[in-house]
């Protein structure tokens, strides 16, 4: 067992966690604001693509990150306005956005670079890694952070900052109320629609960053559909964490470890088609176990209702 937990394993886990972590942070905030964001997957893909494009044309990783954030924020406008001002069905919009992201990035990949499938080019600058001297000597945590991109550092800092903001500031308190009881928040003078729009767009920025880490973090490559279900795992992390950024981060760590372990098992000679399943299986098991625990606590899982299509918009009882 001990030879399984190596500095390399921890490092690749931390690396794998970053995009999911950022996306789950976005998802948690949206959930708090009362928007069920299943478009995280698409946001991430748009971000990953824009990051490569930005990096390629500006010849700088920073340019890539900026492009990723901007593009994903623009993309998030569909959900931000579609689910609020236009009151569309959040799940349908989310699924549509994921497909749009998949098609649009593949289309632009061909048009801009004339390739299909995978694009890599020396001109694409990847994210710099921060190396703090001595860090690699601290077991586990130190191993994990010894050589990571600044996006990873930002991601963990954001988890802390967002948690504090959510639970300690007036804006955070109002946001939590907006998602739970929009009527009540509205009568107390909080503009529910504005809160939701801003939150979804901010979530777009976070998932854009996640996409940048995906395409410019470990590699400097864009591959079609490279988000590969990570956005959905983030959705699950939000559910497991009950929209608490810290708990959701805990769930992300679990998936990251499963992911890293699968790479490790490949090293042991298991075919990757089998080991690649582990994050998904861990996810399903975690959901089932958390449901059982919650049943015992006798609190109904609100997320389940939110997850079924149309669940968020029940007809109002006719009081007359």
């Amino acid at each position: 067992m001990s030879d399984l937990i190596t500095p390399f394993l921890i490092q690749s886990a931390v690396q794998a966690i970053t995009p999911i972590l950022l996306a789950s942070l976005a998802g948690s905030l949206c959930q708090r604001a009362g928007v069920f964001n299943v478009a995280l997957e698409g946001h991430m893909l748009v971000g990953a693509f824009a990051a490569v494009v930005g990096s390629y044309f500006t010849q700088s990783a920073m340019g890539g990150v900026a492009a990723a954030i901007l593009a994903a924020m623009m993309f998030s406008l569909i959900l931000a306005y579609g689910a609020t001002v236009f009151r569309g069905d959040q799940v349908v919009i989310g699924i549509g956005m994921n497909l749009l992201a998949s098609g649009l990035t593949a289309y632009l990949l061909r048009v801009l670079f004339g390739v299909s499938g995978v694009f890599s080019d020396p001109a694409v600058v990847s994210l710099a890694r921060i190396r703090l001297p001595g860090l690699q000597n601290i077991p586990v945590i130190g191993w994990g952070f010894a050589s990571q991109t600044y996006v990873t550092w930002i991601a963990w800092a954001l988890v802390a900052i967002v948690s504090v903001a959510l639970f300690r500031t007036p804006v955070g308190l109002r946001l939590r109320g907006v998602g739970e009881q929009p009527d009540a928040a509205e009568t107390l003078g909080v503009d529910v629609t504005a809160y939701r729009i801003v939150t979804v767009i901010f979530g777009g920025a976070l998932t854009g960053l996640a996409g940048a880490q995906l395409s410019l973090g470990a590699v400097s490559v864009f591959a079609e559909d490279m988000s590969a279900g990570r956005g959905w795992i983030a959705v699950v992390a939000v559910m497991l964490g009950r929209a608490n950024p810290l708990y959701a981060a805990g769930a992300c760590v679990l998936f990251g470890l499963a992911d890293a372990m699968s790479i490790r098992l490949q090293g042991e000679g298991l075919p990757n088609q089998l080991t690649d399943m582990s994050p998904y299986l861990v996810t399903i098991a975690a959901l089932a176990i958390s449901h059982r625990k919650r049943l015992r606590a006798a609190a109904p899982p609100a997320e389940v209702a939110a997850a079924s299509p149309g669940g968020a918009v029940e007809p109002q009882p006719d009081t007359r």
Partner: protein, 345 residues
């Protein structure tokens, strides 16, 4: 206090006819801008799509493409009719495809018998796997939206493993099974078309008939309108969810089997997934809000669009993935636009 909104109607997700036309027009305009931005002529692109799908000689190709796509639209429409979403079509289709290939290769029976057994086995295997997602929701509280999708990845992974190792065709060395003996293949009708088309037509007819005339159709439709009412009225919701998902998965499995037995003649890793039938089918079903006839029409429309896309790519410089972009814009427009309608109502 609540202003008497006597309607209080359950939101119908999307509207039909005229809004659909507006949505298509809108998608054409946005797509056109995209085409112009990439330095090509949108009118030429759309002309090629039209000719390449419905023009002389193109129709068989469109129908051939529509066979799996409409099949997957029906697979998506069944749960959607009851207010559920099956995002795991990919996994179910692959399971069906691999099961069919295995049965057709290894069942010691005359060809036609093997083919029929392969189709049935594919439907059963994929149906049971889909029902697993429903079981996850009813017994373990994992929302079906999530469980169906997450179960898809391991299914694809395991099938990929099987075809890479135990069942790999050693002659070619590629990740694919051996060729299925000719007797066990689906009969060809003409050109690219085989009796898989007839099977999908039969499934479509059955789904429409059940939806309109059968008790099961009534119960599923009413569940879609108000799930709590259906439960209160005495419908066993858990069993119903399992049945709907089984039917959905079984159709997806048959689609996989048809493709394997009718066009590819072997199970090839990833070959079933690349055309993204699952997602186009889901979009078609969403477009019709699960109503089967609407889903079939939308599926045919998307099939024509995508088939035309090949011609467009051939004749112009525009990548055919543009058609996927057009499809998703149609969906998004209707999803958002539907909200507009509701607010003004």
């Amino acid at each position: 206090m609540s202003a008497p909104d006597a309607r209080g109607e359950t939101p119908r997700r999307l509207m039909r006819a005229p809004p659909a036309a507006t949505a298509i027009l809108f998608a054409a305009i946005v797509g056109g801008v995209l085409v112009i931005a990439s330095g090509a002529n949108p009118l030429q692109a759309y002309y090629q799509i039209l000719v390449g799908s419905l023009g002389p000689g193109a129709l068989p190709d469109t129908l051939n493409w529509a066979t799996p796509l409409v099949g997957m639209a029906l697979a998506a429409a069944i749960p959607l009719r009851g207010g559920m979403i099956n995002l795991g079509g990919d996994g179910q289709m692959v399971i069906g495809g691999l099961t069919a290939a295995t049965v057709a290769l290894y069942l010691p029976a005359p060809g036609p018998v093997a083919a029929i057994a392969a189709l049935i086995a594919a439907a059963l295997a994929a149906g049971l796997y889909a029902a697993l997602a429903a079981w996850g929701e009813t017994r373990h509280g994992v929302p079906m939206l999530i469980s169906s999708l997450l179960l898809s990845y391991p299914a694809v992974g395991v099938c990929s493993y099987i075809v890479r190792f135990p069942l790999r065709d050693t002659a070619t060395g590629l990740p694919q099974t051996r060729m299925i003996p000719e007797g066990a293949r689906l009969l060809t009708i003409a050109g690219p078309l085989n009796i898989g088309l007839l099977i999908v037509i039969a499934i479509a007819a059955a789904v429409v008939f059940i939806d309109r005339r059968a008790i099961a159709g009534y119960e599923l439709r009413l569940r879609g309108v108000n799930k709590r009412f259906a439960g209160y009225g005495g419908i066993r919701l858990d069993a119903q969810a399992m049945r709907a998902m089984f039917a959905s998965g079984a159709i997806a499995g048959v689609v996989g089997a048809i493709t394997v037995l009718g066009s590819q003649f072997r199970f090839i890793d990833e070959a079933l997934l690349i055309p993204a039938y699952t997602w186009s089918g889901l979009m078609a079903a969403l477009l019709a809000n699960g109503e089967p006839v609407g889903a079939i029409i939308a599926g045919l429309f998307f099939a024509a669009l995508q088939t035309g896309g090949f011609a467009m790519q051939r004749e112009t410089s525009i990548p055919r993935v543009l058609t996927i972009v057009l499809q998703s814009i149609v969906i998004l427009f209707l999803a958002v636009r539907h909200g507009l309608g509701r607010r003004n109502a």
